[in-house]
């Protein structure tokens, strides 16, 4: 547009040509033509038609406000300026920030028109005074921590059941992370106060969810869509297992020796062979039933008790050099043999 104006100013001859184009041009150009016609100046013949460089009009708006950051009072309440999470905006932050990598010796780009500052997450809404103020505000909804629950042991004692859930850093159109619904319940088996049978049955019911090393039962549920439902389900499972383990079913009488979880000497062939041996040394020979065997009083056999302890520890504590040696000592005492001499 400006080119055509220029032509007119310099030449003014080809009016018809100019007029043709004016139709597409703005009114301001029109005014300039009129002006030119009124004050006819000396026209220089420009043979080379040298183009006059004219500054392109910059579309600078006069109504751009001065930067807000410059006008902020120093004692303002920052929490009101930046109340929530927001992308960085240079005009709202009265700090001389710079961000960016530059070669040595140069200054990094400033805060204005700096996309890097806009990318990084900021915590300008979480300044310490703001946090403090917010905590103060929430305080009215809190209750006091019970004084007696002053140690880990006390907490464990009064609240043995532990519920473990996880929250996830998450972003998607749905605000529910599917993993957050999983609920884990942990409880120490010893806190359930089960008797021998119930304990055994409980362990069998929960199966591999019981860890004998830490004595913890861990029940995990993820079958329901909501965390609350899963939590209810976990509690239900624990309750059901607990009550079921106290029941004694008729078929449990069929438990065999191989099913035992520990070595019960009284019910094992070891005792039978000991009793047989003892009877033979007394020159009695009588056939005993299983009941009689298991109820036979070992204490009447000299050194029998010690033997019993040795065999039980041999079987229950696992075989090691120590237990074998103890067993050997007990057997020698039982059979009336001299003890092994310690090699000098």
């Amino acid at each position: 547009m400006s080119i055509f104006i220029k032509y007119y100013k310099s030449g003014g001859l080809n009016v018809a040509f100019s007029n043709k184009i004016w139709r597409y041009n703005s009114t301001s150009a029109d005014m300039a033509i009129n002006k030119g016609e009124e004050e006819e100046e000396f026209r220089v013949l420009d043979i080379l038609k040298k183009r006059q460089r004219q500054q392109r009009r910059v579309n600078r708006r006069a109504d751009v406000q001065p930067d807000r950051a410059d006008r902020m009072p120093t004692d303002q309440n920052w929490g009101n300026v930046w109340p929530g999470p927001k992308t960085f905006h240079p005009s709202s932050v009265p700090l001389p920030l710079r961000q960016g990598y530059v070669p040595k010796g140069q200054a990094p780009p400033g805060k204005k028109a700096n996309a890097e500052l806009m990318k990084i997450p900021n915590f300008l809404h979480l300044t310490p005074p703001v946090i403090k103020a917010q905590c103060e505000a929430i305080k009215q909804f809190c209750t006091e921590w019970p004084k007696l629950l002053n140690s880990e042991e006390a907490i464990e004692n009064h609240y043995p059941v532990e519920i473990i859930t996880s929250d996830y850093c998450h972003a998607s159109p749905s605000i529910r992370n599917p993993l957050a619904r999983i609920v884990t319940l942990r409880v120490k088996l010893s806190t359930l106060k089960l008797d021998q049978h119930a304990r055994d049955k409980f362990i069998r019911l929960v199966g591999e969810r019981y860890d004998p090393e830490t004595d913890l039962v861990t029940i995990t549920a993820d079958r329901c869509p909501i965390r609350k439902q899963n939590q209810d389900y976990v509690n239900y499972l624990l309750t059901a297992c607990y009550h079921e383990s106290w029941n004694f079913e008729e078929w449990e009488r069929e438990k065999m020796e191989e099913d035992m979880e520990y070595y019960n000497w009284d019910k094992n062939p070891s005792k039978r062979s000991l009793v047989n041996w003892y009877l033979k040394t007394q020159n009695q020979s009588k056939e005993l039933s299983d009941e009689e065997y298991s109820n036979y009083d070992v204490s009447q056999i000299p050194n029998g008790e010690e033997y019993k302890v040795a065999v039980s520890s041999y079987m229950n504590d696992g075989e090691s050099e120590g237990t074998v040696e103890k067993y050997g000592e007990a057997v020698r005492k039982l059979l009336g043999l001299p003890q092994k001499k310690v090699v000098s």
Partner: protein, 371 residues
Amino acid sequence: MISRSWRNLCRRYSQTVTFRTTESSPSQHNEKQIGLFYSVNHDLCKQLFAYGGLPKSFAKQTKTFTETAIMVRQPALDLIDCIKASDFNKPVIRYVMYGEKGSGKSLTLAHLLHYAYEEGYLIVHVPWVSEFLRRVPRHKEMSNSQTREGFVDLPLDVAAWLLHFKTQNQVLLKNTELKISRDYVWSKRESTVAGSPLSQLVEHGINRVKYACDVLDALVYEIKQLSNSKQCKTFVAIDGFNGFFCPLTRLHTPTKKKVKPEEVTLTGSFLELAKNDWSNGVVVVTADQLALPDDHQDSYLPRYLLYKKGFELLDPFVPIEVGRYTDKEFLSCASYYRDRLWLRGPPEIETELKFTSACNPYKFMEQCAPL
């Protein structure tokens, strides 16, 4: 020249340590002789160990060393003490020797056999159980048992064992006091009458291989009876006893079915001897890792090696550990090897060997070999 001066050096070195005892009767051995070697008479050796009993590598050594020398060690003395202290009217006491591979269980057993021979025991000695069950040469003689349904006989092996039994007890078997208590009818024509000597029974087993396994059964029964009636005292020694309890043997029936150890007749007979329902005897067995398949050799302790079955059969038994060499034993053994020209070199070599062999007798012997 160098070697001669070395040898002199070795001689001089070896003289500083006593490693030999002249006491050749095991019943006289005591703590003073621990770690010392005593030599076994050659003829006796032939009689006791002609058909096995000494480990192969040791037998080779005896040839090289031109003598059979056994070290007096703590476990053997301990066992002899126990035997001496035990009451023979009570049921037999079972001793289980255990220890790492190559720690000398079989040689301790050989020492004890010598002792038993001296004391006039009737010796029932199985040199190596796996020889029956796990070693399968190309033509292993096997047959289905005639008398017991579903069982397998190893007649040749048993006959060989009966021969071993006969040679070991040739002195005792000449004694005609040992008579059998029952009539045994083998077939229409053959039978052994009650009252005939025990040796006749054994002879029958050797001559009529077909009946060897039944003879073994009968022999076991008779030995128990004789011991109970105090006619003789019996020393049962079974090496690699846990071989009877492994899940499977390496034997196959003609129908390619794998045989379990309890399906072999001789297993039953020897296990019968290991029970404590008889008296006036001693049972010494060893539990060895080598008697079991490779996948069950993690521990050398008896309960693991004997399996549950074996443990329940033997319980209560006296466990006797055969360990590695003590310092004294090692030194005496090294001096013995030097004397026998098996080991030479500077004295530092012994510290090194002690370290590399970890005082394990068999490894020590092996590592000396190329030096």
